[in-house]
Amino acid sequence: MRSLVNIWFALLGMRTNKLRSSLTILGVIIGVGAVIMIVSLGNGLRRATELEMEAWASGTVEVRAQMWGPVFVEMEAIARDMNVVSGSVDELRLKGMPPTEYQPRGLQANDVEALRKLATSMVEVVPQIETYAQVVYQGQYLPAGNVTGVTPEYLQVYRSEMKYGRFISAEDDSTAAAVVVLDETLVDYAMGQGVNPVGQILHLTVEEVPQNYMIVGVVAKRKGIQGIAPRPVLVPLRSAQLRLNTGAKNQVHLLAARVDSRVPRERQYAVAEINTILRARRGIAPGAQADFWVQDTLEFSEERLRIIRTMTLVLSLIAGISLVVGSIGLMNIMLVGVAERTWEIGLRRALGAQRGDILVQFLAEGVTLALAGGVGGLALGVGGSYAGSRLVTQLRDLATLSPDVFVIALGVSLIVGVVASIYPAWQAAALPPTVALRSG
């Protein structure tokens, strides 16, 4: 009750010097606003990066077979034996040397089975074939060259959803059906926004022989993707192996496994588990070089996120300088206010005010000014970051309104208020009543 009265006195005190109070508040507004702008744009940047990384790699762990390197060296050695100085795989093939028997093993259906049965750290795994073909739709080349052969698990592994039609079914895969599923980004770009091409025919041209495929579905576009998605054209895995002449009749190029954890340690465990299972199944001796790579696609994005976090922190610190300037202004004004109202303090003390009353009154004044600055700064920061994300192309749609921004605004301004006014308030409370009265 007593404190409430003192807070009321503080509010009345502020009203008498509106211009000074407003300027003080402005200082805090700019400080808090700057911090919030940086934090909210930083959060946005981080979120955008997360979305982008998830959109491209979807947070999968990828296993990639070694398709060249040691193999090529091996062939080079053979070529030297055969008095062929050197040459690429194609040159060797042209010279009539069948490279098939030297081809690496790639990844096989058995590997997929082993992972599905033994690995506990992953949700699902999808084998993939990556190949190239010219994509022709209604006589026009579509701006997409890579065609990916996948199994129905693709949707689950890449957390994707259908926009139109259906996805590749198990039956499509086992019968190597001539069906194709497109990504919405490709459809939007090449056929126009909102066009539903399901049921249309598409040509995939491999070695100048066009093949007819029926479009059975469109995968919905993912948030964060700019331009055309990384896997715009999907066909059944078996179709890719058998029809698209990939030279890998029983092999796959890539396994993508979904690991649902975002905890780095759990993801490292998943990578280690995949390594162990595949090395055992493929009979690779301990210590020997594996003929495959396991890579956590999130690792790269984690690194990027770390950089963004550091950047945000550094920028926040710089923005924090303006907050410090604002709070010094507040402290200065509070000191001036105490000096100016020394007489009033003496009078209040003569009329029965205790030191605590005076302390609370001036503390409340400082905290109220700072909180007003905090609320204003919140408005400025949120408004500013939204304006920034609309006006500046590089920052487009980056602003995010997260609850921590409110906590920062109010918490920081509360701290600023207390820190900046505790000393002036203490000074006011410590004034002896007679000294204070004499100053009038």
């Binding site: 009750m1 007489w343 009078l347 209040r348 003569a350 029965g352 009543p433």
Partner: protein, 245 residues
């Protein structure tokens, strides 16, 4: 006089007050011994710098003596903590200052209520309005000090001093800033309060027409009491007192 037999409110024994002024120590008061009883109307007079205000500050517990003992209502003031002194001032002592000392941003009502906030933590409009009407300002409760004349402002200050029903009212040159008519009216008011409420009053003044209205005049010089006498003519209007002299 029956007031002589009343209990002693203020009792000072060998009180001195020393202020350090740089390297020298200045005795503002020296060996002051006095007793003020309930219902007394005391005027403290003397040339400026004689220690009048210092004495009043000591009596009002705004400052503590550096020598001697001071008992207020039988309690040793020097042994009280700062918060207890604040409480004692708020509950028991009313102050009236030369410059009225009203808060400009508060209207008359809030100014009168101010001591009540500090003692009881809440407003008391009823009592404040009643006091304002007692000092003749019934219709001025909502006026700010700047909208009141000097005499009216000083009467608001008197109402404020009475807010918590004090046992002691201290006035430091209450008529110093007032014209003679307003000053006379204010002293009439103080005298009436003294008579009706048996309110003990100590008033610092250098105006003989004001001090002549007190029951008792204490004369200070160089920090020491040089004269302390009762006045026969006390209570009469100044013209009558002059006539009688």
């Amino acid at each position: 006089m029956e007031t002589r037999e009343a209990p002693s409110i203020v009792r000072m024994d060998g009180v001195g007050k020393v202020y350090p002024m740089g390297r020298i120590r200045v005795h503002a008061l020296r060996d002051v011994t006095l007793s003020i009883r309930q219902g007394d109307f005391v005027a403290v007079v003397g040339p400026s710098g004689s220690g009048k205000s210092t004495l009043l500050n000591l009596i009002g517990c705004l400052d503590l003596p550096s020598e001697g003992t001071y008992q207020l209502l039988g309690r040793n003031v020097q042994s009280l903590k700062d918060n207890e002194l604040s409480r004692l001032r708020g509950e028991g002592i009313g102050f009236v200052f030369q410059d009225y000392s009203l808060l400009r941003r508060f209207d008359a009502l809030r100014n009168v209520e101010l001591p009540h906030y500090y003692v009881h933590g809440r407003a008391n409009h009823g009592r404040a309005l009643q006091l304002l009407s007692e000092v003749g300002l019934a219709g001025r409760a909502a006026h700010k000090p700047t909208e009141l004349s000097g005499g009216e402002q000083q009467r608001v200050a008197v109402a404020r001093a009475l807010m918590n029903s004090p046992f002691l009212l201290l006035a430091d040159e209450p008529t110093g800033n007032l014209d003679s008519k307003s000053g006379r009216e204010l002293i009439d008011l103080l005298q009436r309060l003294n008579a009706e409420l048996q309110l003990t009053m100590v008033m610092v003044t250098h105006d003989p027409s004001v001090s002549s209205r007190a029951h008792r005049v204490i004369h200070l010089q160089d920090g020491q009491i040089v004269d302390d006498r009762l006045q026969e003519s006390a209570g009469l209007p100044p013209d009558a007192a002059l006539g009688a002299g």
